[in-house]
Symmetry: C2
Subunit: 502 residues, 2 copies
Amino acid sequence: MRPLGLNALRARRLGLLTHDEAVAFIRSDSDVSKSEGLSSYGRLKLQCDGATVYASLYQVTSDLIDHDEIGLSEYAWTKLGLTGPQAVTVSSAPPLQSMTHVRAKMFGEELGTDAAAEIVRDIVAGRFSDIQLSSFVAACASPVLTAAETIAVTKAMVETGTRLVWPAGRIYDKHCIGGLPGNRTTPIVVAIVTCFGLTMPKTSSRAITSPAGTADTMETLTNVALDMAAMRRVVETTGGCFVWGDSVGFSPADTSVIRIERALNLDVDGLLVASVLSKKIAAGATHVVIDMPVGPTAKMRNPAAAARLSDLFRQVAAAFGLEVRTVITDGRQPVGRGIGPALEAMDILAVLDTWPDELSDLADKSCLLAGAVLEMAGLCAEGSGADLAGSALRDGRARRKFDEICAAQGGSGSPPQAQFTRPVRATRSGRVASLDNRMIARIAKLAGAPEDASAGVRLAVRLGDRVRQGDTLFTLVSGTPGKITYAMEYVSENPSVIEISR
Amino acid sequence: MRPLGLNALRARRLGLLTHDEAVAFIRSDSDVSKSEGLSSYGRLKLQCDGATVYASLYQVTSDLIDHDEIGLSEYAWTKLGLTGPQAVTVSSAPPLQSMTHVRAKMFGEELGTDAAAEIVRDIVAGRFSDIQLSSFVAACASPVLTAAETIAVTKAMVETGTRLVWPAGRIYDKHCIGGLPGNRTTPIVVAIVTCFGLTMPKTSSRAITSPAGTADTMETLTNVALDMAAMRRVVETTGGCFVWGDSVGFSPADTSVIRIERALNLDVDGLLVASVLSKKIAAGATHVVIDMPVGPTAKMRNPAAAARLSDLFRQVAAAFGLEVRTVITDGRQPVGRGIGPALEAMDILAVLDTWPDELSDLADKSCLLAGAVLEMAGLCAEGSGADLAGSALRDGRARRKFDEICAAQGGSGSPPQAQFTRPVRATRSGRVASLDNRMIARIAKLAGAPEDASAGVRLAVRLGDRVRQGDTLFTLVSGTPGKITYAMEYVSENPSVIEISR
């Protein structure tokens, strides 16, 4: 009955995507289930050859799983380092001690440095179930994290991840708090500020819920998957880089926390600040410019909320000797014309080449942010940074720098062009009264972005533009005709994506 | 490619136990996944023949699920009313509007009657994911639910369930807030108070995490699965009943909330009060006695916490015209000697028959609680209820009443006897300094309770008893020798289950 030994089951890979929650499936009538008194949603401790994983249990009553098997999600499989049907030892997980701190925080106690460290360590070790993680996020929302508590969480997030050390000197970085489609200023900012001899070793993410991340966009132009040594070489030669940073392992607790915040549609300022700053500190930055778009369908809905968040950013950054400057920007509509990896890359190249009128918003915003960096660096007077940045853009220095960095990263390609397009036209004449950032992002994803790098949306209008009935508002772009159909269905069901007033 | 129609998948029953969260499995490379832009942990709206279910999605990359299939947990399968591989229409679930109220509550707004009603309705409809439910529970803990907010939640819980109406007159009930193994006073209390012509239509639960619920215990003596009509007949004839009430459908939101509280190891007073009182109100009670055991390993750890909870019980009950009396009892150790369905049933019969010395705690406590009911009914002076209750126990009236109710419920059996026993002996001489309620409950479950009704633990000692090395502390009882082995392993790993001081 027990060829595998007491409380051991044979591992089976289920190919189940569960992000960073390990999930296990066991027969409810298995000996282990009965002897351990397990029940669904219980927490298990799984062990194999020295590796340990904490997993949430689903019990199975069908023959989906054999009596001597344990079905494992991809995360559990990988964390246990399994390669085949090895024996996994199963026991009930002991109570999670750091939940004591989560409960204390809910009941009004201050979250101290040690408590935050214990919680974050347990999150990184995968000891928190999603239900427990959700209570942690809620506890950070109420009572709302103070600056001191945010500092404690930031410190814990830095300490659980890898950390880059650069040779002495200032290291610049930029970050956007997100939510705005097409807001691909980063590559332009890096190209500009490095023209002035500043160092900006920029790591960026791929899209999680958006139609493109900076890494997705830059991947259509060069190689972004550099290891640490290659990244250092590029930065030493050129002053900058455009590297996919997710795999570097800065602030690993962050991913889990963000996923839960998204599921709750809950933005906790303290967690946002801890998330951003922990990654910047880990990346070795000393000076950071933060782009904070404000608009009705952006992350920050109003200026007062943005001011509170700015203040928290400054207080927490100061505790780590980090200088932060937040720039409130217009978040009422997407930036640039293209939304989707290749379409955004084309916008970037166009701005670097000719600064066309129709992309003045992307060019101006890039100069504003690059200018803030130049001002922090003391290279010009306050208020004149954007002009100085603009000069490097206009005279082609930024374009040459951009090419230099791409070449150093091992290649430069040109963005793929999609075969299929379909215009979406105005059903009446009037003035463009609003563009919904979230709906536009959704449409670009339905068209296939970011998996299909060529897919997305190309906007033909901006806020305030006059249009006549039949004019193109935007064009759907995709490598697959079926995707265009899906995206069109969504467009017809959601006419408020672009509103036209008389 | 789409024989099932747009966004439709063929249902497949996975036999997956997920309590009251619906869970669905879809191939990540299926057309529906791609067209709807789904990702793991997203929320789905599933529809089939007019039935709708909201489910949490896991994406699958293996051939566990076919491209045109949707794997469903038992809860999802049942809620959709499926019988075979029918077509299920899949779409992304719209954002959950009532989460707005959860977030507002976190941010300090009072939870009003309408908001509570919307939240509880959505919980009952299965629209909350576990992650969202967890945030609701956390929001109720911080800022802690006020009496007014608890009233709002109680009202919402009553309104979403079924409700019993009795002919005019007082309806008595009792409830224990739980956590004490062997605390099986209910059947004795019902037998006593109905002797005095009072009405106590008692519904009880089966064990969820404990080794026995009152329904499990009474099932070893009579039929407890009565429908509403049968229950009414029994109560009309005898004044009382011992019925399994879970399937009656009082306060259905309660089950989900309790499950999450358990996963968080978080007791929220307001949710406990709403849970208990909503079920009492739904059952038609007008007068309720609440047993509140206090002890280091009981649910209430200290008298101050118990006093606060009592106060909240009274305030909320008053809002519904319900009279509540809380009785603080000794929760330092289990009550009676048997722990497990049949063992507890034997204790009950022994108390009803002969009031043996070794069961004086169970007998005294039953009289105390029954006495509180008799005092509320005005049948005796305050402080003399226990004596009056004791008289009915001593002269055999309670036993006859008990038999009468059992017979009216359609049968009386005798509790099953387990074949296998193993004594656990004192490893030193001294005085019994503590008994750990939680560990003792765990041991009884490892021995097989409650599935094996005969299994459990029989205590041989109580707090303060003098023992000599080698004396039996308790006996493991089971129908399966293997279970005794499991339980013994746990006992040897946890010597603090019963501590002996010199």
